[in-house]
Amino acid sequence: MKKDLVIIGGGPAGLAAAVEAYDQGVHDILILERDSELGGILNQCIHNGFGLHTFKEELTGPEYALRYVKMVKERKIPFMLRTMAVKLKGGEPIKITAMCGDERWNDRREEVLLEAENEPLAGLQKGAEGLEIEAKAVVLAMGCRERARGALNIPGYRPAGIFTAGSAQRFVNIEGLIPGREVVVLGSGDIGLIMARRMKLQGADVKMVVEIMPYSGGLKRNIVQCLEDFNIPLKLSHTIVDIDGKHRLKGVTIAQVDEAGKELPDTAEYIKCDTLLLSCGLIPENELSIDAGIEMDRLTHGPVVNDRMETGCRGIFSCGNVLHVHDLVDNVSKEAKAAGKSAAEYVLSGAGEWGKATRPKSPPKSRYTPTPERDFTNQLICIGCPVGCLLTVNKRSDGQLEVTGNSCPVGAEYGRKEMTAPTRPLTASVKVTDGIGAVVSVKTSADIPKNKIMECMAEIGRAKVSAPVVAGDILLKDIAGTGVHIIATANMLSNPAPENKMSQKV
């Protein structure tokens, strides 16, 4: 099998790279995706906050993914699912070996068999030793993984109930399952904050978010809408020093730490909980790159690349979280677009001078310490965008509210509303009957009053809709009397043979 360009990974980076390479004139492309659908981690990030830069509107993760999936499908760019590249060898051509199952043509998201649709792929057969593909150029877009408990070296027992935030997110948002009822979150990066809120919305008692640093690594808007909105305490300069529970987690011991991260004596405190979520950093998943002999950057844990995002191995490009960990998917798309363009140039015009190693620019990491001095009566943090302006709202002599500290009109509007009738967007998932999955992600059609959030969640929790569901479908009308509707943000197919599944279960 020969291809001009092979993209390894069908998440946001891979999809944006594929679309751009196609638009630059390279049409012989193949995307390899190891999961059962395109979109990568975005599919489980059902919250909103994506797309402000790329699409100039606020989308949920599945909606953002769908936009790119649509672009890929419009261009008829072939892709294989449940297919994982396991070996990569530089040279001309570049050689890729992949492992794949029989269902590799079966798209979980759309009711099509890719094999029938993709004429050019019909000849692509799995050999006895996997799938061999030769490519002129390759884009690495494998993403990253979460740091696990073992790597954090937390002492104690190893009971059930310890999850990385991402796997808990998958259980709740994709599988519709409940990983915990009394939750402690370790790590206050965005995933930790988002999951603290998600578990709370799902009815769990979220005891606290524990952060070893004296500041949170999460966005200010997430501190506000994930923790402050729900009165979830944030314990800065604390960590977990012991884990209790021989079978299921029973509790954790937290302790304060000094600047060096060392436990301070006599600060230990036992927190009863059945679930611990870990949100302690992401690591680019570069096993394939390292195995191919690509030189790595010890700082970013991604490959060393030139200003065209080409690795030291000619024709192999890298972008997205496998290159360096990003805070915003919009930045991933931008970077991947550039990588897709470079890869297309390489295919069409050949290798140029490699040039100089250029470390990809990342925006400064968020380091936010919620200030206790903040006057909660009239000072607010704007949640309109990731900047998080500190707003001060005062009543003018004419009775109008005056907002200062904002850097755009969104802030002024938010400030006035927050002081009078605060509202929030709400994202969650609704149970689906007869679908290929148990739940479908949803959002509110407009913001709802902040004090109605839990009431809306109760209604969403009771609801059941039947498959198929298409993104944009109105699933529940006038939720909790707010006049706002609940809209699907992803597709959900009907289960083709539900009776088979039932008989298996007997």
């Binding site: 993984r145 073992g150 002492p155 009971p159 998958r170």
Partner: protein, 480 residues
């Protein structure tokens, strides 16, 4: 009515079961945990010791050397991972720990945790003992010769004992291989079956379990750290087994090639000191600590324990980046206090055999213990050999299908097979130990949702009924 009832499905119990399955007998293995091999078997060094540690004439010496000799052939016959990588025992310059390892001095670790004494005479003692025990090929090498074999070894090593017959084995692989082969040859495995009482009436043992009464002519007590409780149910001569906790740190495959031999330090009063070894799967393992404790289930790790093994390992081969740690764990060795294995028919209870106090080198010795105990059984209860005994067993083959565990590249077919074998996997840990799915860098972060789905489907259960390792360790909650 069973001819033989084996209490305990650890590596030793399974080796005995497999050996006895060669004879025409009805045999049951009773295991209190949800899976076989969940006690000391799941958390040890995975070493096939050469056999120079135990004093000549002891069962430990005899069965260690015999087990070592059996391992290669068994690994071929039963298809479990074993590598004859050779081992080294290092002898250091005096006081190197405090003087030369600055990172230790700076780490705030108390010096007595890492002092390793130079004691060349003890090295020679090991050599002599090994020769008496019949260990082949032992040699004392100079520090330079050792560094030629193992370049990562510290400059402060002055000499060392080289044992070419040392090896490494996958403890789960060995145990499952034995159990599966025993099952194919007719042994019945009862898991989640805890013995709560034993009574002997006439010549029959009545073993009361939480799920019924088993009757048997012979009972073999291989209950590991619980062997004392089982023994004391029938005998008037009390036995005590103390759990001795050993903590380990496991590193990523990225540093798995740091050493190719198993590298020991000269043994102290509390076991063999800290070793550094590659594992059969290419990771790097360091440990264990040795701490006598009371709680027979205290397999928790401690901050000090992890720090100790990492610091001690650094003395042998230099520091390994903490970022390369993928997990730490602790195991409980069954320490009998006699200094030797206890393998005998209990004096006041004929027909009841103790196989107790099987601490190091228990894993190495396990196949030889199987043989030894089978011989005892044959003498007590003569029976014919089976003509249709099937000696071979194949491991779960890795294929090229859909990948479920990315880090270890384990396919869906392998997961299915782990569940469908007898005794098959019923939990996440069961899958993990049989296939390695979830043992890699992400420690199950990506694959556990999928494995739960497959387990639920195959076992006809709901996802929230799936456990990490048996009842009480459910991973998900019942959705309201």
């Amino acid at each position: 009515m069973y001819d033989v009832i084996i209490i305990g499905g650890g590596v030793v119990g399974c080796c005995i079961a497999r050996e006895l399955s060669k004879i025409k007998m009805r045999i049951a293995v009773l295991e209190k945990n949800s899976d076989i091999g969940e006690g000391a078997t799941k958390a040890n060094s995975g070493i096939v010791h050469a056999g120079y540690d135990a004093a000549a004439g002891t069962l430990k010496a005899l069965l260690n050397v015999r087990g070592n000799k059996m391992m290669k052939e068994l690994a071929d016959e039963l298809d479990f991972p074993f590598i004859n990588n050779g081992s080294l025992v290092l002898c250091f310059e005096e006081n190197i720990a405090s003087a030369e390892n600055d990172h230790i001095a700076n780490s705030g670790v108390s010096a007595d945790r890492v002092v390793i004494k130079n004691d060349r005479s003890r090295l020679e003692e090991l050599l002599d003992r090994g020769r008496q025990n019949g260990v082949a090929g032992l040699k004392i090498l100079t520090g330079d010769a050792i560094r030629r074999l193992e370049p990562a070894v510290s400059q402060s090593v002055t000499s060392g004992l080289y044992a070419p017959t040392g090896g490494i084995v996958c403890p789960f692989g060995l145990t499952y291989a034995m159990a599966e082969n025993a099952a194919v040859n007719g042994v019945e495995f009862y898991r989640q079956t805890k013995v709560v009482g034993i009574e002997k009436k006439k010549d029959i043992f009545y073993i009361t379990c939480d799920r019924g009464v088993f009757e048997g002519r012979l009972v073999i007590n291989v209950a590991g750290i619980y062997a004392d409780l089982i023994h004391n149910m029938v005998s008037n001569e009390p036995m005590t087994i103390r759990p001795r906790r050993g903590e380990y740190v496991l590193y990523d495959k990225g540093v798995g090639g740091r050493v190719s031999h198993t590298v020991f330090q000269l043994p102290g009063a509390y076991g063999k000191g800290v070793l550094v070894t590659p594992t059969v799967h290419g990771n790097l393992l360091v440990g264990p600590t040795a701490e006598d404790i009371e709680d027979k289930e205290a397999v928790n790790t401690t901050a000090i324990g992890s720090a100790t093994v990492m610091d001690k390992a650094a003395v042998s081969i230099g520091k390994i980046a903490v970022g390369e740690v993928i997990t730490s764990f602790a195991g409980l060795r069954a320490h009998g206090g006699t200094g030797d294995f206890t393998i005998k028919e209990v004096d006041d209870v004929p027909g009841f055999l103790d196989v107790a106090g099987i601490d190091s080198p228990g894993l190495t010795a396990a196949p030889a213990i199987g043989e030894y105990v089978a011989q005892m059984v044959r003498e007590i209860l003569p029976a014919e050999d089976k003509k249709d005994f099937k000696p071979e067993r194949r491991g779960i083959k890795s294929g090229w299908g859909e990948v479920i565990c990315r880090c270890e590249r384990i396919t869906k077919e392998e997961i299915y097979e782990a569940i469908r074998r007898t005794p098959g996997a019923t939990s996440i840990d069961g899958i993990k130990r049989r296939t390695r799915a979830g043992m890699g860098r992400c420690q199950g972060g990506f694959c556990s949702p999928r494995i739960i789905e497959i387990l639920a489907q195959e076992l006809g259960k709901e996802p929230w009924e799936i456990t990490k390792a048996g009842a009480g360790s459910e991973i998900l909650f019942y959705p309201d």
